[in-house]
Subunit: 129 residues, 2 copies
DNA sequence: CCTAGACCTTCCAGTCAGTGTAAGGATAAT
DNA sequence: ATTATCCTTACACTGACTGGAAGGTCTAGG
């Protein structure tokens, strides 16, 4: 299977698949003409990566997850620890962004949004508290 | 005032202040010896940028906000429009990350996290749905 | 006057996870 | 044979900084 079909099957851009090969996450075979040849196991691996990235895992973490996935004597506790750390990161981000939204919403609500120059948002940003 | 004191007053790393000058957001004066000289208005401007960045505005947006701040005949409606778009971005991010967390939490809960190799998290990532 | 340490400067490279583009080779359909 | 669509590599760029090297300046103490 060529890269285009692989891309369709794992829902990743071709460029991204080449990049993942560059950084050593996948090693599809090569045909005589230099074309990459993707088989079923490459697609499974790429989909695994895509899903892990979709949960926000860093490339470094994905590497760890793949290492565990490839290791038949892994301990699921180790996987769970990675997941826990990632959950914490997601929750941290959520609270950060949620705080930003609240602050911005307050400024937004205080701003008249009319044709005048006076603006509570700019005032809020400029204030030397 | 030298850059170190400026950095303290606006709560930004020195490196970041130099970067903001590089990209044209601030233009502190220069002394005879080549050192930057920050005055009160530079600090206000840097704090403005820091606060806007803290609300998640992109550098591009910050540029727009500064342009409006500098323009005495601005319409506050324009500022409010920027804020609205930023609020929408924050909410989009929140829902994305919230979805990630939910999915990951489900896998996390299903994983035994013991000394065995069987792992619901890896299975969830590997499944070819 | 000299020196040590703490400032300051510029410039270049690296981060993360890709994405865009150019130049060129291979294959498939007509 | 031609055209269109694939495929390849290599390099540059993104955002928003951050780190480090190499070198100039300033201040305090001896």
């Amino acid at each position: 299977m060529n890269i285009q079909d692989a891309a369709r099957l794992c829902s990743l851009p071709r460029k991204t698949i080449r990049y993942y090969e560059d950084v050593g996450l996948v090693t599809p075979g090569r045909r005589g003409n230099g074309y990459r040849e993707f088989d079923r196991s490459d697609i499974v691996r790429l989909s695994f990566i895509a899903r892990a990235r979709g949960l926000g895992f860093s490339m470094e973490d994905v590497r760890g997850l793949l290492r565990l996935q490839d290791n038949p004597v892994r301990r699921s506790a180790e996987v769970k620890a990675l997941a826990k750390s990632q959950l914490a990161k997601l929750e941290h981000k959520l609270s950060e962004i949620s705080k930003m939204r609240e602050e911005l919403q307050d400024l937004f609500d205080a701003c008249l949004g009319d044709e005048g120059a006076s603006c509570a948002i700019l005032d809020g940003l400029a204030q030397t508290k």
